[in-house]
């Protein structure tokens, strides 16, 4: 009966309740759409970014990320490899043996990053073949290199020319190698385009005198949201001689940027929720003022203030719940549509995106978590606001309330 009473009380002033509910619904709609879009855009960017080179996470010998030398490489271990590949959420892995080297041709010399790869694994993880401008993909066990365009240009090298690489091997001796250029790569990122070269990992191991060794095991994920769980599992279960780092740890500046952006959005949402709080609160105050007499009468008859307060509380919950459910019902199709038909970027933005090899779109993400979170936020706003009317009801004086 108390719930029935609360429910009917909401519809006592139908227009006011409908207006309050639509304010709540539009706030939820706006909040869900904003958060879904923002998270979707960042997820899309991160996915593009990590699939350029770093992957979502990497496993190294302990200390490698701080000091990237061959001394901090590890011997490829089938058990560790299987453990990483078998972690739930992981859908691709790739071993790399990376070394900085001097590349030269004729009288030109450039510093570069030489990456020994397993072509099939790398293809799976970063779709390397898609970046080939001319020439063909490397083949496992063969010689040959894929050189980024910028680097090749600076060295005055073309497809089919010979690349000379010079560095220090695993045991400290000088390592030198000549290998034909099998393909030229294009990267949108100048950093990669001007200094990267790929060779098969066996060739790198031979060149660096580091048989069976690798510097990193790159981890790809099916879904970005699995990252925390995967990272936790790897950090916990890998032998102590290994380190597992996520892209956030490897590229902290990007993560900070995202967090700053989210903070900005949450401030905006905070302002939005403040605005609807005023709306909800004024509705509650009006309900309270109109019903002083009724509350006094109920208390006089023998209803405990706490029971009356429960009715008021139930009314607040109904009001906010109806509003947010309406908001959810409206936002689901919108967010779903924006996920299926992402906003296409145009103009300069699109150009920048495409230069980096990213798809120039703003997709939304459809996540139950976002819907649930926003509903809970509105509901808690309502409950916090209900504290005042509840407090007023609890210190109700029947005689005074009825005299008005």
């Amino acid at each position: 009966m108390l719930l029935k009473l609360a429910w009917r009380n909401i519809w006592r002033n139908r227009n006011r309740s409908l207006i309050t509910m639509s304010a709540i619904a539009s706030a939820v709609l706006l909040a869900v759409a904003t958060v879904s879009l923002q998270q979707g855009v960042w997820e899309h960017l991160i996915k593009n970014l990590v699939s350029l080179y770093t992957g979502y996470a990497q496993v190294h010998a302990k200390g490698y990320w701080d000091e990237q030398t061959l001394e901090n490489s590890f011997e490829i271990d089938k058990t560790v490899e299987q453990q990483v590949a078998g972690t739930p959420g992981v859908n691709a892995i790739a071993h790399r043996l990376e070394s900085f080297a001097l590349a030269s041709s004729g009288d030109k010399t450039r510093g570069c990053l030489v990456v020994g790869i397993n072509p099939a694994e790398e293809e799976n993880l970063t779709r390397l073949s898609a970046k080939i401008q001319s020439g063909s993909m490397l083949e496992s066990g063969q010689d040959g290199a894929l050189v980024a365009e910028g680097l090749a240009e600076k060295l005055n090298l073309a497809l089919g020319d010979t690349l000379v690489l010079l560095t220090q091997g695993y045991y400290g001796s000088t390592a030198a190698m000549k290998t034909p250029i099998r393909g030229l790569l294009h990267f949108g990122s100048p950093e990669l385009n001007n200094q990267i070269a790929y060779i098969p990992i066996q060739l790198a191991q031979y060149w660096l005198d580091a048989p069976d060794r690798a510097t990193s095991l790159v981890v790809g994920l099916e879904q970005a949201e699995d990252l925390p769980a995967v990272a936790r599992s790897l950090k916990k279960s890998l032998p102590k001689t290994y380190e597992a780092l996520t892209w956030k740890e490897m590229m902290p500046e990007i993560n900070q940027h995202i967090e700053a952006d989210s903070a900005g959005m949450y401030i905006m949402l905070g302002v939005l929720y403040m605005l609807i709080s005023f709306g909800i609160f004024s509705t509650l105050l009006m309900m309270l003022a109109e019903r002083q007499r009724e509350f006094g009468m109920l208390n006089a008859l023998g209803m405990q203030p706490w029971s009356i307060a429960r009715v008021v509380l139930a009314e607040t919950v109904f009001l906010t719940l109806c509003g947010s459910l309406a908001g959810l019902l409206l936002s689901y199709p919108l967010v779903w549509y924006l996920a299926e038909n992402p906003i296409q970027l145009g103009g300069d933005m699109a150009e920048i995106y495409e230069k980096f090899g990213f798809e120039a779109i703003f997709p939304a993400t459809v996540k139950a978590k976002i819907f649930v979170e926003q509903t809970l936020v509105v509901l808690s706003v309502g409950l916090v606001l209900a504290v005042y009317p509840v407090w007023r009801v609890l210190r109700l004086n029947a005689v005074e309330a009825m005299r008005n």
Binding site: M1, N9, E294
Partner: protein, 233 residues
Amino acid sequence: MQTVIDAHNISKVYNPDTIPVHAVNSVHLHLNRGEFTALVGPSGSGKTTLLNIIGGLDAPTEGQVVINGINISELKPNQLINFRLHNIGFVFQAFNLIPVLTASENVEFIMLLQKRPKAERTRRVHELLASVGLSDKLNVRPSQLSGGQQQRVAVARALASRPQFILADEPTANLDSHSAATLLDIMEKMNREEAITFLFSTHDQRVIDRARRVITLVDGRIENDSAATQIRH
């Protein structure tokens, strides 16, 4: 005769620190089970204040109210509310009913607060609304009832809780004379047939004429009590 209300030396002073108003002055009031008593007096004579004190809605500045042997001034606030729920039926001048509930729900509500079983509630709602002549208005909301009908629902509700007595503060003040007479008929019948104790305030002579005992209040003092007069005669 069994004593239901024993109000002893009741005084009530409003605003004792600024401009004191002595609303009730050293009132002794004794009511037996089955009485049908009117509390009369001009506006401002202290009727509402006295009824509120007897009903446990307001605390007296001085004196004690004993109902059925229980000194209600010794009860804690929540005990007092519970005491009202189980022992006192109230009919107010206006705004008696919960607007969003139907007539039958309004009557049932008080029994729900008392946690009475569903079967009993349903039976009693029908019984009581029939006895106040509103069998055809069970599912009608207060806004669609006339003032007199609303007061009859309020009387039915006051009875629903099976109280020791019913306090009614000017129950007919907002009614036309016909509705007032009907309401009085119903109250009288309940008093006669079921020995329900009524204490009601009024300043309407036609209502006063129907009472079996009349207590007259002037400036917060009992000026005349027909029961006492009869004894003296």
